[in-house]
Symmetry: C2
Subunit: 213 residues, 2 copies
């Protein structure tokens, strides 16, 4: 099995990559930060390829280099906490590109083997209706909408597009709030729960990871 984790230097991405390292024959990791990515690849004995998800050419080159995949995990993401009235376009675009436009590029350019699973990290809609989170909510729920359409379009290719709804996870994204909620899952817990629910039959379209009790 050949697997690629995009956003592999992030909290959830690196936890997923670590869990996958012993499970798949060929592991690829991708991220923007060359230094962090190289260290992770060395630790996991994985292949690495640097790409900025806001640049279609870089995404296309990355996916062409990696080749046909059995598993793709899109764990990249960004957040901003700024009210619409105060939000700079650059901030809006940074969040929308990381959560949504990059996923569009990946869906457009990825090569899949029959039966492949492609996993994208989404949210619970009711958890993101929060002041300051417009760009985050728009792009994460936009990702869900994108998958709903692409799933229909790509059915004949034999690839399964899977949305994972995550509750609060203790990653760096929470730095915009200044505090991580006490009930947040650790990235390792979240990653384990994703994998536990990923390789079941029939392949799920949506995986909902519950909040910690």
């Amino acid at each position: 099995m050949k697997a690629l984790v995009i956003g592999a230097t992030g909290g959830i991405g690196s936890a997923l990559a670590r869990l996958l390292a012993s499970k798949v024959e060929s592991l690829w990791v991708s991220g923007r930060n060359q230094e962090k990515l190289a260290a992770l690849a060395k630790e996991l004995n994985a292949n690495s390829v640097v790409a900025d998800l806001s640049e279609e050419t870089q995404v296309a080159n990355m996916l062409s280099q990696v080749g046909e995949l059995d598993l793709l995990i899109y764990a990249a993401g960004a957040v901003a906490k700024v009210n619409v009235r105060q939000m700079d376009l650059s901030e809006w675009r940074k969040v929308v590109d990381a959560n949504l436009t990059g996923a569009f590029f990946v869906l457009k350019h990825a090569c899949f083997n029959k039966g492949a699973r492609a996993v994208f990290i989404g949210v619970y809609p009711e958890l993101v209706r929060v002041n300051g989170l417009s760009a985050y909510a728009v792009s994460k729920l936009g990702l869900e909408t994108l998958l709903n359409v692409a799933r229909r379009e790509m059915r004949s290719e034999g690839v399964n597009l899977i949305l994972v709804r995550l509750p609060e996870v203790a990653t760096n994204l929470w730095s915009v709030f200044g505090v991580v909620p006490r009930r947040a899952l650790s990235p390792e817990e979240a990653a384990q729960k994703i994998l536990d629910n990923l390789f079941v039959e029939p392949c799920p379209e949506v995986i909902e990871i519950a909040r910690a009790k």
Copy 2:
């Protein structure tokens, strides 16, 4: 009452502008096509201001020129029917900018009087889960998400943000399908139904216009 229709040269926008012309003291119309806009403004004895909604500076200048509004209608929109695997970034951006990024700019820069109503044209989610409509579905449902967050943020300003869910309406957008469905409302019918439901108390957050029987 001072009203502004954005996207006023489109099918629904021009129908709304025509209905509003005799109802409001001060009517402003905006669009990208200078010639069509000038003709409409002359016909309706309205003020006009040209703006490209994909350019934040143009949107900000337009809204500063118009001043404080009692009613704003965002009737601009674009559609493409291309599968994700084939879609050019320029096509994706055209649709997302017209339906979503432009609405972000408008929400950021508009000036409202207390009690103002700002209306945005959305969709029924189940009607846009259609092959080729990813950018349209993402941006129209993204608009709904944007309003859900901005409504909370802007509550203290006393402005009411309203989403209108429209069924099929016989506008130029349908040209991507080659045929307008027989049950489509005319733009005039749709505009009349929007206004019938707009000036009620308490102010609605969502107006759902039903399909024709």
